[in-house]
Subunit: 275 residues, 2 copies
């Protein structure tokens, strides 16, 4: 699902020149995909460079997107993502629909723990962060709402991967990253064991060291069809004394959200998990 | 900014048949605009009806949008807004950028008050809700993130209107809704007085009766250029004894967010208020 111009790194200039007509959609999303967390405001020259499209094409497309509200043109002539996209995106059932149900429960968990509380869903071969609650005095922010995380190495990722269809699991297991010595990290067999433990135990605990030592405790949220549709986690510093006490709280909260998803009247139920 | 297919009501079928090329953008956003809070999952027939486009055009466009991640196609063949849009929309500086700064302070306010806490920005002649925190036991939800509210009759709306450029104020004052007897509600002169009070007092208190009696207490958030870039409010039942005590809390919190927006290093500052 990730576009070439993903938030993970700078978009490579694209040399292709799509034909008119439906290729306009591809070009429009290439242009929208040029925006990233570290570059939220771009000039026409930036957009031309990042998309590899001719300047005249970029300008025409940017103007159309401003007209549609997908982009905003600022007083200095540069462009930013427009609020109309936020309005449309708020109707994504697996994003804000899920979030609306989960949020009060996440508030409870945040209120009790005062730790980062994350809500994520699987999108293709990655986890996408739908919501994050953090305190003023929390450690530096690692994840942003709308950002992506790997399935094989994060708390929410492992929970989502453990509950994913076998084909997705095999795809991820077959394409693990390698360290400088060419070894898979994690080892495929080791990851299989971890996923099995996550399924059996109903939670995942992951320790990460970069950029700061922390522990993530994650649990699955089940949709009305009883399959894993999302993952909830609490992220806390590695040295925190309370990380063992977090597991029951996260699991309890994830169950409460799952039950709420099942008990909603049909018209209020977010349309989850059909992918 | 609102499209013909706005979230306010059903989209009128459109008879026009735009030419190829850039008109594809308009058609794509007409298609995306067919989704609404009460219809988050639509069949091809629904989309054809709601956009007024030929079935073959709708199908081709829907497929392109699925390819771009803007739509998701479900197992039953129907369509929903895709997570890729949430990912792009999360880069809107006036949406999630502002939200990221404001959220910990909103958490504080919610923690203390246990009332609905709203964050909104002005988009054209309407207020757009960027964030809402609500408790389990809060009264029924009135507003949804990504939804729009009138400027002339809501707490956040009045605060945003009072701080808007004179041209915007005159436009709103010149097009107020009328009651069945043809009278403007509110009266233009009355609204001018209210806006003047909001500017002088630094807050707005609004009582609304539909769909349930409630009070909104709102205060302005100032951007680095010291103009109103957003509004913060607490919404509570009309009978709540504490609505007078809310004003200092909301104003204090709005000032804290304003100060944080000013003090951020440049690269972290959301690009606000340039419209």
């Amino acid at each position: 699902m990730t576009q070439a111009a993903s938030p993970g790194g700078p978009a490579p200039p694209r040399g292709r020149r799509p034909a008119q007509g439906d290729a306009v959609i591809d070009r429009a999303f290439a242009l929208l995909g040029a925006f990233e967390p570290t570059r939220q405001v771009l000039s026409l020259a930036d957009l031309t460079h990042l998309t590899g499209m001719p300047r005249s094409t970029t300008l025409r497309l940017a103007r159309k997107l401003v007209g549609a509200g997908a982009l905003e043109r600022r007083e200095d002539g540069r462009y930013a993502i427009g609020l109309r996209l936020l309005e449309i995106a708020s109707l994504a059932p697996r994003g804000h629909g899920l979030r609306a149900v989960a949020m009060p429960f996440m508030e409870d968990l945040f209120h009790i723990t005062r730790r980062h509380v994350l809500l994520a869903v699987r999108d293709g071969d990655e986890a996408l962060l739908v919501e994050r609650l953090s305190a003023h005095d929390a450690d530096p922010v690692l994840y942003r709402v709308g950002g992506r995380m790997p399935l094989h190495s994060t708390g929410v990722g492992l929970v989502l991967l453990a509950g994913a269809p076998p084909a997705v699991q095999e795809r991820i297991l077959g394409s693990l990253p390698t360290d400088p010595a060419g070894r898979e990290v994690p080892d495929t067999a080791e990851l299989r064991r971890v996923l099995s433990d996550v399924r059996r135990g109903g939670f995942a605990t992951v320790t990460l060291s970069v950029p700061w030592p922390r522990t993530s405790v994650a649990a699955p949220i089940l949709g009305p069809d009883r399959t894993v549709c999302a993952a909830l986690s609490v992220v806390l510093p590695l040295e925190a004394a309370d990380h063992k006490t977090m597991t029951p709280a996260v699991r309890t909260c994830a169950r409460a959200i799952s039950r709420e998803l099942r008990s909603l009247p049909c018209q209020d139920k977010p349309a989850l998990g059909d992918r």
